[in-house]
Symmetry: C2
Subunit: 334 residues, 2 copies
DNA sequence: GCTACCATCTGCAACGATGTACTCAAACGG
DNA sequence: CCGTTTGAGTACATCGTTGCAGATGGTAGC
């Protein structure tokens, strides 16, 4: 079977516990002993058994990441970055897909998934803050990307409102006056959709333009919904000269529908999105959007979570981080 | 602390082992005993400690998935599907990104990552079959998507060559005669790129058209490379009336470059890809491509791997599965 | 020369589950 | 009526680590 500490101890002529001490960088070990042990380890090809270590220490060195679906480009990119950052600090990331479903989110917080991880990065899409608070147990949770502003939680997010305001302002500065907004959920106010919508409305207000509810095309949150929303507006005969997709896939879905119908982008209708996924840069026309600072989000959230896990972060209230955004002006709305 | 089996045993007035027997569906337990135990479990809110179970049983009920990068749409979609299928059989998927780098692939096969999983789904991008064989240890490995045809391995793949031949044939049937091919790696013959290139050449041959090496634009495997390859051809003055991207992101990158330069798709140049990622359907123009049967790949590969792990698959040579493909004719090459 | 101290190393228990071997009583066969 | 089988449950060892509490032996202090 596999080589154990006992085998190493025997080979090095020391006790099992000394091997353990060497591996855990215990201070008081003679260099000669340390070397003997290390040689035995190398010779036998010993590798620590992570399961046993976890059982004994109660730590798994894994972080949980709860998000809706990895097939959504934004989440795929986010997961990729988070995993890379985590690995620099010696942690792995275990992903759980929630499908934006309350039950799945709940079971990620409470079920076996929690046992496997030392802490959670959680993108709450369906759950409320109180529900999260009451079911998170004793392991650290860092909320990601959504704006449940609540002193109980660490939160790493983006400037949803400000950034949405900036993109909308950019559309208005280009002379657009009727900016359709795609992806708004009427009932949502504190989530990404709500905050971005609010930024949109503030930009309209700044420009002295009245908000027209007819321009708000509600629906889902991904590609199909973007296309459907634009189709709905066109079929209903609602006039508009720009579309703001509350995320890039919505915007790209919308743009696709416009182009299919022979509507020119940006000449007839300008289009802007939010997230700056890789695809936005390579769309045709390339998509004007907002880059929400994903690198910063990945670094800060992993850093915060690991600091909590390792007790490096003082025990007080939740830390709130807002990454800076950058407006990316491209062809779809120059 | 957490509730253990011992607590349950005490509460139910039975021995610890009886609790274990109830949990493991041991046959000979009186209904009354079983009920007492189940009641105690429910009352105390007991949850089995997965780490302890793993240590004792040597199984983790996790599958490893090694791929280059989750931010690549194809892999994001694949990972999402694999995780969903695995969870139906009670397994989780732990992802490791290799960046298509040999060292990372090797460490996924040998390092701590293996310990954490009962078996591996492996997309070898850099390693050779022999290297994989010699370092996989004793846990089952199912190769995914690449065509290392080797009796030692289970392999679930797509009809790379046939499908590429079919797309190319479609371009030729549309009257195109100079089909540039983007993403070919000159040195690769057995990997996806090599097989798809070979399918391309066979289609040319079928149509009695000579292969022109000048139309082969080598380079990387993702968006940038697609754009750069087309830019290279155009700048070099190589004439072509179609582009076959060896994957969708290459094709989309290429298409973007064409459109930027005012070249009409499909009027001036038709474009086709391979993979049928979600984005292909919503690109403008939408992308003609090949759907490689990802659902079938996900189901067969997970099924095969778990059957191996659980000893349900007879012990003989590697099983080879090739999923069926579907040609998706869209606007970029009608 | 004896105590006190320190660096260094060791043995044992414990983490929480499962496998093996065993006990014990009831049922059964002849 | 006694030996054997079978159902139901239990005790103990074990998986491979780490925490805790010593054990050891050399040196310093006075």
């Amino acid at each position: 079977m596999a080589v154990t500490m006992n085998d190493v101890a025997r080979a090095a002529g020391v006790s099992l516990k000394t091997v353990s001490n060497v591996l855990n960088d215990y201070e008081f070990i003679r260099p000669a002993t340390r070397q003997k042990v290390n040689e035995a380890i190398a010779e036998l090809g010993y590798e620590a058994n992570l399961t046993a270590r976890s059982l004994r220490s109660g730590k798994t060195r894994m972080l949980g990441l709860v998000l809706s679906d990895l097939s959504v480009p934004y989440y795929g990119e986010l997961a990729s970055k988070l995993m890379k950052v985590a690995s620099l600090r010696g942690y792995r990331v275990l992903v759980e897909q929630s499908d934006a479903n309350v039950d799945n989110e709940l079971s990620a917080l409470q079920g076996p998934f929690r046992q496997l991880t030392d802490g959670l990065l959680f993108t709450p899409l369906a759950m409320e803050a109180d529900a999260v608070a009451s079911s998170r147990g004793n392991k650290p949770v860092v909320l990601l990307g959504e704006y449940i502003l609540d002193a109980r939680f660490d939160l790493v997010t983006m400037k949803n409102e400000e950034a949405a305001r900036a993109v909308t302002a950019h559309l208005l500065a280009g002379g657009r006056r009727r900016v359709a907004v795609v992806g708004a959920h009427p009932e949502d106010s504190g989530g990404s959709a709500g905050l971005r919508l609010s930024g949109y409305r503030k930009a309209l207000e700044d420009a002295g333009i009245a908000f027209d509810p007819a321009l708000m095309a509600p629906g889902g949150w991904w590609r199909d919904a973007g296309a459907a929303a634009v189709a709905g507006l066109l079929d209903a005969g609602v006039p508009f000269d720009a579309v703001f997709g509350l995320n890039d896939t919505l915007a790209l879905g919308a743009m696709h529908e416009l182009l299919i119908r022979g509507i020119k982008v940006p000449q007839d209708v300008a289009v802007a999105g939010f997230d700056d996924i890789d695809e936005a840069r390579f769309a045709s026309p390339s998509l004007t959007t907002v880059s929400p600072g994903m690198d910063e989000i990945a670094e800060r959230s992993i850093g915060l979570l690991i600091d909590r896990i390792e007790g490096l972060q003082p025990e007080d209230d939740g830390v709130h981080v807002e990454a800076d955004f950058i407006l990316k002006i491209r062809e779809s709305a120059p």
